[in-house]
C-alpha cells in the first residue's frame, strides 16, 4: 500500500472538518502535517468527573492509516489533565479496543475516534486508574500499538 493512501485520506478528513466543523466538545488544535494531529475534547454532560475540563489528544498516523489504526494518547499540559478512567493510564495511554488491531475498522476516522472517547468518558462513574497504573507508567517503554492490553474489567 502506498503512503499516498494515508495522505489522501487525511487530506479528505481535514477538508471535511474545515468545511463542516466537528461535533460539539471536539476541536481541532493543530494539523500542520499529515503525521500528527492535536485535538481537544470535552465531556458535555454533567458527569462530575469531567466537568469544566478540556483534554488534549494526540493522534499519530502511520503510512498504513486507515487500514491500521492511528496511535491515540492523552497529553498532559498545565491546563490539560489526563482524564480519570479505569482504562486510561496516568501517562495518557488509552486502552480501548477500537484503537487496537482487533477492534479497529478503516471506516473509523479522527472524528469518530474522538466521539468514542467522549462517550467512553461520559459513561464512566469510576474515579480510578487501571490496576497496576504506577508500575505500568514507570516501566513501560513500548509504543501504545505494541502493548498487549489485558482487559481487567470489560464492564467499563
Amino acid at each position: 500500500m502506498s503512503a499516498q493512501f494515508a495522505t489522501k485520506r487525511l487530506g479528505k478528513e481535514l477538508q471535511k472538518i474545515r468545511n463542516s466543523r466537528l461535533p460539539p466538545g471536539i476541536e481541532l488544535v493543530s494539523a500542520e502535517n499529515l503525521e500528527e494531529w492535536l485535538l481537544d475534547i470535552q465531556v458535555l454532560d454533567d458527569n462530575p468527573l469531567y466537568q469544566n475540563q478540556t483534554y488534549r489528544l494526540k493522534f499519530r498516523f502511520g503510512s498504513t492509516y486507515p487500514i491500521e489504526p492511528p496511535e491515540v494518547v492523552f497529553v498532559k499540559l498545565s491546563d490539560r489533565p489526563i482524564p480519570m478512567h479505569p482504562h486510561i493510564y496516568s501517562n495518557g495511554i488509552i486502552c480501548l479496543d477500537l484503537l487496537g488491531q482487533q477492534g479497529w475498522s478503516p471506516v473509523q476516522n479522527v472524528e469518530s475516534v474522538c466521539m468514542s472517547l467522549q462517550s467512553m468518558l461520559t459513561g464512566n462513574s469510576k474515579n480510578e486508574r487501571p490496576p497496576g497504573d504506577d508500575d505500568f507508567v514507570r516501566a513501560n517503554q513500548l509504543r501504545p500499538k505494541d502493548i498487549e492490553f489485558y482487559y481487567h474489567d470489560n464492564t467499563v
Binding site: 500500500m1 493512501f5 489522501k8 479528505k12 488491531q101 479497529w104
Partner: protein, 101 residues
Amino acid sequence: MKVKIKRWNGVATWRWDIPEDDVCGICQVHFDGTCPTCKYPGDDCSLLSGKCGHNFHMHCILEWIKQDSAKGQCPMCRQRFEWTEQPNDMSMDTTHAPPEI
C-alpha cells in the same frame, strides 16, 4: 437558414449504478472518483459490492481484507465480506443455484 454540421463531439457523463450517492468508507473519496492509488476512475478502479449491502472501491477493500486483523469482515457491519457479481441495486438474483447433478 440552413445549418450544415461539419463536425461534432459527443459528451457523456457516467456514474456507478449504485443506489447511494456516497463516498467509499475506507478512502472517503466519492465512489465516482478513484481510490487513492489510481489515476483514472471507471473500469480501471471499480467498485466491489458486498452481499451485506456495503460498497467500496475494489482496491480499498482488498487492502483491508488482506490484513489478518480484518478477519474477512466488512469494515461497516463486521459481517463476513462476500462480494456479489452485480452492484447492490440490481434487482436480478445474483446468487446462482448450484448445478444439478
